[in-house]
């Protein structure tokens, strides 16, 4: 029995989000990687230095934005790849639910890390 589903987002809108998150992520990830220039690599991985980063609110917001943008872009990309494997209602609905759930899960888990690290005293 084929149920006609209401289209919440057209595929063109989903793909526009995919491209926009790609370009935005490029900038924020570049900043995240270039942070290594502020001190020697091995020093930058020490516990205290890492926690200090999370206390810096703009940087914490940057990390949050990376989390959201990459989660959306990555899982949408996975959805696109998986949609091409099988074309039946169960598989397609399953993929949609899985990717949305995975996005929410990883954003939630990452945000938890950022908030808890921000509250950490040294």
């Amino acid at each position: 029995m084929m149920k006609t589903r209401k289209i919440i987002l057209h595929e063109s809108q989903i793909m526009k989000i995919h491209y926009i998150t790609a370009i935005a992520a490029l900038f924020v990830v570049a900043v995240h990687i270039l942070m290594r220039l502020i001190m020697p690599y091995s020093m930058s991985l020490q516990y205290e230095n890492v926690v200090v980063n999370y206390h810096n609110i703009p940087y914490a917001l940057l990390l949050e934005s990376i989390l959201v943008l990459i989660a959306i872009h990555g899982f949408n990309g996975l959805r696109v790849i998986l949609l091409e494997f099988r074309q039946n209602e169960i598989w397609e609905n399953g993929i949609t639910i899985f990717t949305i759930a995975a996005m929410i899960a990883i954003i939630a888990y990452g945000t938890r890390t950022i908030i808890m690290a921000n509250q950490l005293g040294l």
Partner: protein
């Protein structure tokens, strides 16, 4: 930068030898390995080898027809025009989809030429495949002019759409498609996605989108804006690599997507009807 790109192009084409400077491998005879299976009989797949004498310009189709005429008349093969005009003889030759009549033995390497049916099409027998789903995808794109203003019933009026040469050039190359199915066979998305229309159908969607005689551009975009529509094309370019007529379906699909994304503006002016009897 342009100079560097031009030089790379010249280096790439530099070691070709024939009239277009392509490398020719001359042989007196060649072994043609043909895929054999009869779907309706539930046959196992097997390969039969035939040794065929060849000359400088013998095509794969001629070699196969020699094998069929003198060695094994049961070979199933589809062909018609023998001049890359009808698109009937599409098959996988040494792993790549090509037209058998358009492929010379001398341009293929190795002493064995393997001929298999086109991938991504249901098999009927040996080298013959079923094109119904391919044509259904094409029909879904509504491959005809949508223009409610054109009056076709009144035969006394001689009317025509006025189109300039520049307007025709915008879609002309896509109209050269012979529906041979090579692009559909080469496409990596078609390899796994049964609902994807394929490069041929999508490039024909652009052919009608770009035609100034057609005035239903919104509907044409809606047809392709689907989960398994134009968005499942990833510009792997294999379709354009194998197209024998220079249709370049990849170009058509990306141009259509540019319009769908809003990157390219639709500057099409709908062609006006011209009454020839009063000219």
């Amino acid at each position: 930068m342009k100079e560097i790109i031009k030089k790379i192009g010249m280096i790439k084409n530099g070691n070709r030898k024939d009239d277009n400077n392509r490398k020719e491998i001359l042989r007196n005879n060649v072994v043609v390995k043909v895929f054999r299976a009869n779907r309706s009989k539930g046959d196992f797949v097997s390969y039969d080898s035939f040794e065929v004498p060849v000359q400088r310009w013998t095509t794969v189709l001629e070699a196969l027809l020699y094998a069929k005429s003198y060695l094994d008349s049961s070979i199933g093969i589809r062909y018609s025009c023998r001049m890359a005009s009808c698109g009937s003889c599409g098959m996988k030759i040494n792993g790549i989809p090509r037209l058998a009549c358009y492929t010379k033995i001398s341009e293929l390497e190795g002493s064995t030429i393997t001929c298999e049916p086109l991938a991504n099409f249901p098999l009927i027998r040996d080298l013959v495949t079923d094109f119904s789903q391919f044509f259904n995808h094409h029909k879904k794109m509504q491959p005809y002019i949508h223009n409610e203003n054109s009056v076709m019933t009144d035969s006394k009026k001689l009317i025509e759409f006025k189109q300039s040469v520049e307007e025709v050039d915008k879609y002309l190359q896509f109209s050269y498609c012979i529906k041979c199915g090579l692009c559909y066979s080469a496409c990596p998305t078609v390899a796994t996605d049964t609902k994807f229309p394929g490069p041929q159908a999508l490039s024909q969607a652009y052919r009608y989108y770009a035609d100034t005689r057609d005035n239903d551009t919104k509907e044409r975009l809606n047809i392709v804006d689907e989960k398994h529509g134009i968005w499942r094309c990833h510009f792997a370019g294999s379709c354009s690599t194998v197209c024998p007529k220079g249709v370049d379906p990849a170009l058509g699909i990306q141009l259509l997507r540019g319009h769908l994304m809003g990157f390219s503006k639709n500057e099409k002016k709908i062609a006006k009807l011209h009454n020839r009897s009063t000219s």
